[in-house]
C-alpha cells in the first residue's frame, strides 16, 4: 500500500522538480547581495547552489535515466532534495549515492532509525550545516525521535553522548583517532550495559558520521540552499534567513543574477582560457617526461612532507570573523575544537601509509564484516567517484583526466596525512593552483567557510558540472580518509 502511494506520487516528479526549481528562483534573487563568509551559502538559492540556475534547469529538463533516478529518490525519501538535484549532473554517481544513503538510513542495520538520523544531525552540526540538520530533524521526528534530544547532545541518551567525542575528532582531526577513542566510546563494550556500543553499531555510526561530514562538505562546496518546504517549526532555523518560500513577494528578481553570472564569465573568459590550456599543457608534460627525470627517494618523501605541511597553511584570508551559529552548535559541546586551531599550532600530522591499511583490502573487509553489504555499497561509490570521467576538460574533449583526478584525490588524502608510496607528490603542485587548493582545503576541512567567491575563482573556465564533479571527488576522498582512520582504530581495538 505504502509502496503504491509512493510510486504513484513518483509520477508527479517532473512537476515536483519544476516546482522546486521555480521556487528556487526567488532565493536566487538574493544572490546579488552576496556576503563573504557565513550565510553566503544560503544566499545562493537555487538547488544547484553556486551553479547558475540555467545550468541546473537544463539538467532538470532531463532524460529518461535522470527521470528514473528522480523517481527512485522520490520514492525512497518522499522528497527530491537539492543535493539530488545538483548531483544529477552525474547520474551514474548519483544512483550509487542514493542507494548507499537509502541503505544507511532505511534498510536493515544495527542502529534504530531515529538514532541514524540523530547521528546525521550530530555530524552535520559539526560543520554547522543547517541544511542537512534541518532535513534530518524532520526525518528524525518523523521516525519517532524524541524532540527533547534536539535541544542538545546532553539531552540525548548517554550512548549517543559517548559518540560525541569520536564525532568531533573524526570531523576535524581524524589522524588523532586511536583505539582509545574506540574504547572510550565503547566503554563496557563487552558488558551488557545500556549505553555501550556494539562493534556493529559503532561501524554503522562511523559510516554515518563520515557520510554526513562529507555530505556537509558537498552542501557547502556546491552552495546547496535550504529546502524550500522545510518549515521552521522545529528546525534549526538559520538566524538571518527565513526558510519560507518568498517567490510571491520577490517575483521578477531573477534577471539580476543571470546578468551577474554573465558578466562574471565575461570578465574571466580571457585569462581563464589560458588557465585551462596551461593545465592541459602541464598534464601533457607530466605524462611525457615522467620517465626522464626520476626523483630520488628522499626527494619523493620530502615532496610529500612539503605538500602536507603546505596544505596546513593553505587558507583563504577572509574567513576570520566567522562565528558559529548558535542554533546548530548546541549539538556539540566545544565549538572551539576545529580544524583551524590545529593548523595554527602547526601540529604534526603523522603519516598514514595507504599500503599498510587501505580501503580495498582492509577497510572494506572490516565494514562488510560488521555491517554487511554496506562495505560493498561504499566500495562501489568510491569506485565510481574515483573513476568517473567524461574525458572532457572545459571546452576540450577526449582528455585523459585520470592524472588530474588522482592528483585531487591524493591531495586530499595528503592533507589528512595519508601517503601513497607510489605517487609523486610533485605532480600535485604542478596541476593544482593555489586558488584551487584553497577551495579544496576549505571544502574538506572547514566547509562552513566556503564562499561563492572561492567557488568562482578556481578553474574559471570549467563547466559547473565539472565543478560538481570535483566536489564529488572531494567528498568521497574525505569520506575515505576519515573511514580509514576510524577503521584502523577499530581494527587495532579488535586485535
Amino acid at each position: 500500500m505504502r509502496l503504491a502511494t509512493a510510486a504513484s506520487e513518483a509520477y508527479t516528479t517532473p512537476l515536483a522538480v519544476s516546482e522546486l526549481l521555480g521556487c528556487k528562483q526567488c532565493a536566487a534573487g538574493r544572490d546579488q547581495d552576496e556576503v563573504p563568509g557565513r550565510g553566503a551559502e544560503r544566499a545562493a538559492g537555487y538547488p544547484g547552489g553556486w551553479a547558475p540556475r540555467r545550468a541546473i534547469l537544463q539538467v532538470g529538463s532531463e532524460d529518461a535515466q535522470m527521470h528514473a533516478l528522480f523517481a527512485d529518490s522520490f520514492a525512497a525519501l518522499g522528497r527530491l532534495d537539492n543535493i539530488t538535484l545538483v548531483m544529477v549532473f552525474h547520474p551514474q554517481y548519483l544512483e550509487s549515492f542514493l542507494k548507499t544513503q537509502h541503505y544507511l538510513l532505511q534498510m536493515d542495520g544495527p542502529l534504530p532509525l531515529h538514532y541514524r538520523h540523530y547521528i546525521g544531525i550530530m555530524a552535520a552540526a559539526r560543520h554547522q550545516c543547517s541544511y542537512l540538520v534541518n532535513l534530518h530533524v524532520n526525518d528524525f521526528l518523523h521516525v519517532g525521535g524524541d524532540p527533547k534530544w534536539l535541544n542538545g547532545l546532553e539531552n540525548a541518551p548517554q550512548k549517543l553522548q559517548n559518540l560525541g567525542e569520536l564525532n568531533k575528532v573524526l570531523a576535524h582531526r581524524p589522524w588523532l583517532i586511536t583505539k582509545e577513542h574506540i574504547e572510550v566510546s565503547n566503554e563496557g563494550l563487552l558488558k551488557a550495559e545500556e549505553h555501550s556500543w556494539s562493534l556493529a553499531e559503532l561501524v554503522h555510526a562511523v559510516v554515518l558520521l563520515t557520510h554526513y561530514h562529507s555530505l556537509a562538505s558537498f552542501t557547502f562546496g556546491c552552495g546547496i540552499s535550504p529546502e524550500i518546504h522545510c518549515d521552521g517549526g522545529h528546525t534549526f532555523r538559520p538566524p538571518s534567513v527565513s526558510n519560507y518560500c518568498i517567490c510571491d513577494i520577490t517575483n521578477g528578481n531573477h534577471s539580476v543574477d543571470e546578468m551577474q553570472v554573465n558578466s562574471a564569465e565575461n570578465v574571466s573568459v580571457s585569462d581563464s582560457f589560458f588557465e585551462v590550456e596551461a593545465l592541459m599543457e602541464k598534464m601533457r608534460q607530466l605524462q611525457e617526461c615522467r620517465d626522464e627525470e626520476e626523483a630520488s627517494q628522499e626527494e619523493m618523501a620530502s615532496r610529500f612532507e612539503i605538500e602536507k605541511r603546505e596544505s596546513m597553511f593553505v587558507f583563504s584570508s577572509d574567513d576570520e570573523e566567522v562565528t558559529p551559529a548558535r542554533d546548530v552548535s548546541r549539538h556539540f559541546e566545544d565549538t572551539s575544537y576545529g580544524y583551524k586551531d590545529f593548523s595554527r599550532h602547526g601540529m604534526h600530522v603523522p603519516t598514514f601509509r595507504v599500503q599498510d591499511y587501505c580501503w580495498e583490502d582492509h577497510g572494506y573487509s572490516l565494514v562488510n564484516r560488521l555491517y554487511p553489504d554496506v562495505g560493498q555499497l561504499i566500495d562501489e561509490k568510491f569506485h565510481i567517484a574515483y573513476n568517473l570521467t567524461y574525458n572532457t576538460m572545459a571546452m576540450h574533449k577526449d582528455v585523459d583526466t585520470s592524472m588530474l583526478r588522482r592528483a585531487i584525490w591524493n591531495y586530499i588524502h595528503c592533507m589528512f596525512g595519508i601517503r601513497y608510496d607510489d605517487y609523486d607528490y610533485g605532480e600535485i603542485n604542478q596541476l593544482l593552483d593555489r586558488s584551487f587548493k584553497v577551495y579544496i582545503k576549505t571544502v574538506v576541512c572547514t566547509p562552513e567557510k566556503v564562499t561563492k567567491r572561492m567557488y568562482d575563482s578556481f578553474w574559471r573556465q570549467f563547466k559547473h558540472s565539472e565543478k560538481v564533479h570535483v566536489n564529488l571527488l572531494l567528498i568521497e576522498a574525505r569520506m575515505q580518509a576519515e573511514l580509514l582512520y576510524a577503521l584502523r582504530a577499530i581494527t587495532r581495538y579488535m586485535t
Binding site: 527512485d72 628522499e298 618523501a301 601509509r353 599500503q355 580495498e360 583490502d361 573487509s365 608510496d421 607510489d422
Partner: protein, 914 residues
C-alpha cells in the same frame, strides 16, 4: 521410509576424483619472437622438465627436523619466502628485509639486506620471492612500484642487483619462473603485468589486464539503446566467417562488436537524430589492478593473474596481446592464487569475499571444483605439499590464525595455527616435499615455524553429534561413543525392526578423521499418536492474543483449549481471567496493553476455582458463584493444594489464604450497588442468555468511565475492536464472567498487594515453558501484556518468543508467527519483522528484475503490473497466476475466473485461483 539420515556426515565420501591429467596441447610456437627472447624454446622446455625431476629426487631424500618456534622481528612483515634448500627464509616488509637461517631450535638472523644510510622506498617491500632454482637470487616488489632483484652472491654489502622502475603504481606481486633462472614476472596496481628477463635492463613484454577485460562483453550505454545491441551483434557475428567456424575468441568478438556498434551509431542513429545523448561507455575504460601472478608449475608457458575486479586470467607468456582465458572467480578482489604442485591445472584462488575456490583449468571452461568458506578475506593461499587436497590460508583482516583446509571438507579446518597476535601476512611451506613445516610472517613482527603435529585441530574439539527427526516423529541421536558412554543408563540403539539401516558407508583409509566415525546411535521412538502435534497447530491458529478485552481473550483461549481436550490449559486460562479481570479491575483489564498495577488479586478465587473445576469437570462455573456467596470457600481453599501449581506455590498461597478471605467477608458490606446487585440476580435464576446480557452492559459502563482519554485512545487505535466488542461479548461463555463479578470485586477493595499473584503467574509460565509448552507461556505473556512482563526477565522472554516463533515457522504458521512477532515487546524479537522486508519483483514482460521502485520496468518501459482484465495498472492488491504470471486486480480476476478457467490475458494457460 524413516528419515534416519546419515548422521555422521562429517566425512564426505571421497570421490576418487576422476581428474584426468589431460595433457594440454601447448601451442608451442618455437619460432615466436618472444619465446626466443626469453629462451623459452622447446628445448628449454624439455630441459627444464628434466631439471625439475632431478631436483625433486634430490630433495626428496633429505629429512627436515625442527620444532614449533618463533622469533621476533624488528618490524611487521609483509611477505616471506623460503630458499630451495629449506634452511633459509627471507622476510620482507615496509622496514625489514632480512634473511634468517632456520636451525633446529631457533631462527638465526643471517643477513640484513636493508643497507644504506637512509633506506629508500625501493626497500619498502610488498612482496618477496626466492628463486626456486637459484639460491642466490631474490626479487622484491616495492610499494612505490619498483621491482628489485638481489644477488646474494655479490661480494659487496649491498646485494642489490637490478632495479626495474617500469610500473607506475605499487607492485603487488613478483614471481619467478619455476624452472627458468632469468624470467621474472610482476603484477602491479597499475593494471599491468610485466615479464622481465634478468639478462636485460627492461621488461620483455607487458601484459595488460585492460585489453582483455572486454572479453567479458560488458556494454554500457547511457541511455536506452541496450535492446538493440544483442540483436545487432548476433547478426554481425553470424555473418562473420571466423565465428561461424568457431575460431573466434572472446576478444575478437568484442572487437567486431565494437566496430559494428560504432558504425551503426554513425550510419544509422546519427542521421536519424536519435543518437543517445549520454556518452557510450566501454567497461574497458580503466585497467584493473593486478593482485597476484603465478607461473603454472606444470605448464611451462602459462601463468595466472588475479585482479581487483574478481577476474582471473590465464596467459601464455609468449602472447602478450591477449589472455588465453578469463573468468570471474570471486565477487570483489581476488587477492591470491596458487597452482597445485601435483595436479596440472588446479588453481586455488582466494578473495575478499571470504572464499577459497579451487578451479580445474584443464576443462574447456574453468570449473569450480571446491569452495571453502572462511571467516575473513583470504590474503594468501598455499597448497600443502604431498597432501593433494590440503591448502593453507591466512587472512588479511580480523582473523590472525592460519588454517589448513581439506578442500573436500570445507566447513571445519583440518588444522589451525594460532600463534600470531596480529594478521598473518605471509605463509610458506618450508620444503616443497615436506608437508609438516609451515613458516609464517605476521604484522605482529614475528616469524614462526609451525609444526603440523602441533597444530590445533578444531575437529577434535568439536563433538560430532547428529540429531534428526524421522518422518513419524522418531528422534535419532548419534554421538561419539565416548561422549555417550559418559552418561550411562542409555541403551545403545540396536537397530530398528521396522526400517532398514541404510547409512552404512565405506570408510576411506585416506581420511584422517575416520576414527571418529565410531559412534553411538540412539533412536527415541514416540508412542503412536503421541507425536501428533495437531493440537499445537490448532491452538496456534485459534488462539486470540490481542485485539479484545483481556477477559474475552482468556475466555476464548480457554474455550479453544477445552475443545482440544487440554483441560489443564483451559483451566489456566480461566484462572488468569479470574485473576486479572475482576470487575473492580475491569477498567484496567480492558486495555490489553497498558496498566499493570493492581492487576492481580483474588488469589483465593483462583485456588477455589481450581478445585471446583477439578472435581466436577468443566463448565460448572455457575456453581462456583454460590460457593463464593456463602463464605464456605475458605474450607475449599485450604485443601486446594492439589492441582496445577507446584507445591511450594501452594504453601505460599495457603498462608495468606484465610485472612484474605476474611477480608473478603468484611468488605462485602460496604460494597457498592454492583456487588449487591449481582448475587440477587444470579442466585435465584440460572437463565443462561438473559443474565449475561445484563452483566455485560454493566461492565461496559464501568469500563468506559474511569480511564477516560486513555481508553478512548486505545479504541481509536483499533477501531474494529470496539465495533465488534458487543457481539463477541455475548458469544463468550457467560457464566464464568458472572462469577467474577461478584467475588473478585470485593477482593479488589480488600487491597491485596497488587503484585500478589505475579509470583504465581510467573511460576506458572515457567512451569509451562519447562514442560515444553512454550506456546502457552508466550500466549499468556502476550495476552497479559504489562501485567506480568516485568516479573520475567527479558532474556527468558526473548528465549520463549524465539522458540515459539521457531516452532510456528516449522509448522509453517507464518501468519501466526508474524502476529506473535508483532505483539512481542522484546526488541530483539520485534525487529525480526523489520528484517528482509524487501519484495523483489520481476517484470512480467521481460522477466528481468525491476530495479526501480516504480511500476514501470526500466528495460522494456512498460508498466509491469497491469491488470489482465481491465488493462490498468494495479496499485493495490495484485493477484497473479504463478504459472503464467498474468494477473490483475483481485476482484477482477476472481470475477473472471468464475466465468472462465483460462487466463484472462489470453495466453492459453489454465490458471488456478485458490
Amino acid at each position: 521410509t524413516s528419515a534416519l539420515c546419515s548422521l555422521l556426515s562429517f566425512v564426505p565420501p571421497q570421490s576418487p576424483a576422476a581428474l584426468g591429467l589431460v595433457p594440454r596441447a601447448d601451442r608451442v610456437n618455437s619460432g615466436s619472437h618472444l619465446a626466443s627472447l626469453l629462451g623459452l624454446t622447446d628445448s628449454g622446455f624439455s630441459d627444464s622438465m628434466e631439471k625439475m625431476s632431478r631436483v625433486t629426487t634430490a630433495l626428496g631424500g633429505s629429512v627436515l627436523t625442527g620444532r614449533t618456534m618463533h622469533c621476533h622481528l624488528d618490524a611487521p612483515a609483509n611477505a616471506i619466502s623460503v630458499c630451495r634448500d629449506a634452511a633459509q627464509v627471507v622476510v620482507a616488509g615496509r622496514s625489514i628485509f632480512k634473511i634468517y637461517a632456520i636451525e633446529e631450535e631457533q631462527f638465526v638472523e643471517k643477513l640484513n639486506l636493508r643497507v644504506g644510510r637512509k633506506p629508500s622506498l625501493n626497500l619498502s617491500c610488498a612482496d618477496v620471492v626466492w628463486h626456486q632454482m637459484d639460491e642466490n637470487l631474490l626479487a622484491t616488489a616495492a610499494t612505490n612500484g619498483v621491482v628489485v632483484t638481489w644477488n646474494l652472491g655479490r661480494p659487496s654489502r649491498n646485494k642489490q642487483d637490478q632495479l626495474f622502475t617500469e610500473h607506475k603504481r605499487t607492485v603487488n606481486k613478483v614471481c619467478f619462473h619455476p624452472t627458468e633462472a632469468h624470467v621474472l614476472l610482476s603484477g602491479s596496481q597499475d593494471g599491468f603485468m610485466k615479464c622481465f628477463d634478468l639478462r636485460r635492463k627492461d621488461s620483455v613484454s607487458t601484459f595488460s589486464g585492460e585489453a582483455t577485460e572486454a572479453g567479458q562483453g560488458r556494454w554500457w550505454v547511457m541511455t536506452g539503446w541496450v535492446p538493440v545491441l544483442p540483436v545487432l551483434s548476433c547478426c554481425v557475428l553470424r555473418l562473420h566467417p571466423s565465428f561461424a567456424h568457431g575460431q573466434m575468441r572472446d576478444a575478437e568478438c568484442e572487437d567486431v562488436l565494437k566496430t559494428t556498434w560504432l558504425l551503426w551509431r554513425l550510419c544509422v542513429a546519427a542521421p536519424l537524430g536519435t543518437l543517445p545523448s549520454g556518452p557510450l561507455f566501454w567497461a574497458t575504460g580503466q585497467s584493473e589492478s593486478v593482485r597476484d601472478v603465478q607461473f603454472s608449475i606444470r605448464d611451462y608457458f602459462t601463468f595466472a593473474s588475479t585482479f581487483e575486479n574478481g577476474n582471473v586470467q590465464l596467459w601464455d607468456i609468449r602472447r602478450p596481446d591477449r589472455c588465453e582465458r578469463m573468468f570471474t572467480a570471486h565477487n570483489g578482489p581476488v587477492f591470491c592464487c596458487d597452482w597445485h604442485p601435483e595436479d596440472r591445472g588446479w588453481l586455488a584462488t582466494g578473495g575478499r569475499d571470504k572464499m577459497v575456490k579451487v578451479w580445474d583449468m584443464t576443462t574447456h571452461r574453468a570449473k569450480e571444483m571446491h569452495c571453502v568458506q572462511t571467516i575473513a578475506s583470504v590474503a594468501r593461499v598455499k597448497w600443502r605439499p604431498e597432501c593433494r587436497h590440503h591448502l593453507a590460508t591466512c587472512s588479511m583482516m580480523v582473523d590472525h590464525n592460519i588454517y589448513v583446509w581439506d578442500v573436500r571438507r570445507p566447513f571445519v579446518p583440518a588444522a589451525m595455527f594460532e600463534e600470531h597476535r596480529d594478521v598473518t601476512t605471509g605463509i610458506a611451506w618450508r620444503h616443497p616435499h615436506d608437508p609438516s613445516f609451515l613458516l609464517s610472517g605476521s604484522k605482529d613482527s614475528s616469524l614462526c615455524q609451525h609444526l603440523f603435529r602441533d597444530a590445533s585441530q578444531p575437529v577434535e574439539r568439536a563433538n560430532p553429534e547428529g540429531l534428526c527427526y524421522g518422518l513419524f516423529g522418531d528422534l535419532a541421536f548419534a554421538a561419539k561413543e565416548s561422549l555417550v558412554a559418559a552418561e550411562s543408563g542409555r541403551k545403545p540403539y540396536t537397530g530398528d525392526r521396522r526400517h532398514p539401516i541404510f547409512f552404512k558407508r565405506k570408510l576411506d583409509p585416506a581420511e584422517p578423521f575416520a576414527g571418529l566415525a565410531s559412534s553411538a546411535l540412539s533412536v527415541f521412538e514416540t508412542e503412536p499418536g503421541g507425536s501428533a502435534m495437531r493440537w499445537f497447530v490448532d491452538t496456534a491458529e485459534r488462539y486470540a492474543l490481542a485485539g479484545r478485552p483481556l477477559a474475552e481473550l482468556c475466555d476464548h483461549n480457554a474455550k479453544v483449549a477445552r475443545e482440544l481436550g487440554r483441560n489443564q490449559v483451559a483451566q489456566t486460562w480461566t484462572m488468569l481471567r479470574t485473576i486479572y479481570c475482576s470487575p473492580g479491575l475491569l477498567p484496567t483489564a480492558n486495555l490489553s496493553h497498558s496498566v499493570g498495577k493492581g492487576g492481580s488479586c483474588g488469589l483465593q478465587l483462583m485456588n477455589s476455582f481450581n478445585l471446583k473445576d477439578m472435581a466436577p469437570g468443566l463448565g460448572s462455573e455457575t456453581r462456583l458463584d454460590r460457593s463464593k456467596g456463602d463464605a464456605r470457600s475458605d474450607t475449599v481453599l485450604l485443601d486446594s493444594s492439589a492441582t496445577l501449581i507446584t507445591n511450594e506455590d501452594n504453601e505460599e498461597t495457603e498462608g495468606s489464604d484465610v485472612p484474605a478471605d476474611y477480608l473478603l467477608g468484611d468488605v462485602e458490606g460496604e460494597d457498592d450497588e454492583l456487588y449487591l446487585l449481582d448475587p440477587e440476580h444470579t442466585h435465584p435464576e440460572e437463565p443462561e442468555c438473559v443474565l449475561p446480557q445484563e452483566a455485560f452492559p454493566l461492565r461496559h459502563e464501568i469500563v468506559d468511565t474511569p480511564p477516560g482519554p486513555e481508553h478512548l485512545q486505545d479504541k481509536a487505535d483499533s477501531p474494529h475492536v470496539s465495533g465488534s466488542e458487543a457481539d463477541v461479548a455475548s458469544l463468550a461463555p457467560m457464566d464464568s464472567s458472572f462469577s467474577l463479578l461478584s467475588v473478585s470485586h470485593a477482593l479488589y477493595d480488600s487491597r491485596l498487594p497488587p503484585d500478589f499473584f505475579s509470583v504465581l503467574v510467573r511460576d506458572m509460565l515457567h512451569f509451562y515453558a519447562e514442560q515444553g509448552d512454550v506456546q502457552m507461556a508466550v500466549s499468556v505473556l502476550i495476552v497479559l501484556g504489562e501485567r506480568v512482563r516485568k516479573d520475567i526477565d527479558e532474556q527468558t522472554q526473548e528465549h520463549w518468543y524465539t522458540s515459539y516463533i521457531d516452532l510456528l515457522q516449522r509448522f509453517r504458521l507464518w501468519n501466526v508467527s508474524n502476529e506473535v512477532v508483532k505483539l512481542s515487546t522484546s526488541r530483539a524479537v520485534s525487529c525480526l519483522n523489520q528484517a528482509s522486508t524487501t519484495l523483489h519483483v520481476n517484470c512480467s514482460h521481460c522477466k528481468r528484475p525491476m530495479s526501480s521502485r516504480g511500476w514501470v520496468c526500466d528495460r522494456c518501459h512498460r508498466c509491469a503490473s497491469m491488470c489482465a482484465v481491465c488493462h490498468h495498472v494495479v496499485k493495490g492488491l495484485f493477484v497473479w497466476c504463478q504459472g503464467c504470471s498474468h494477473g490483475g486486480h483481485l476482484q477482477h480476476i476472481m470475477k473472471w475466473l468464475e466465468g472462465s478457467s483460462h487466463c484472462p490475458a489470453g495466453c492459453g494457460h489454465l490458471c488456478e485461483y485458490s
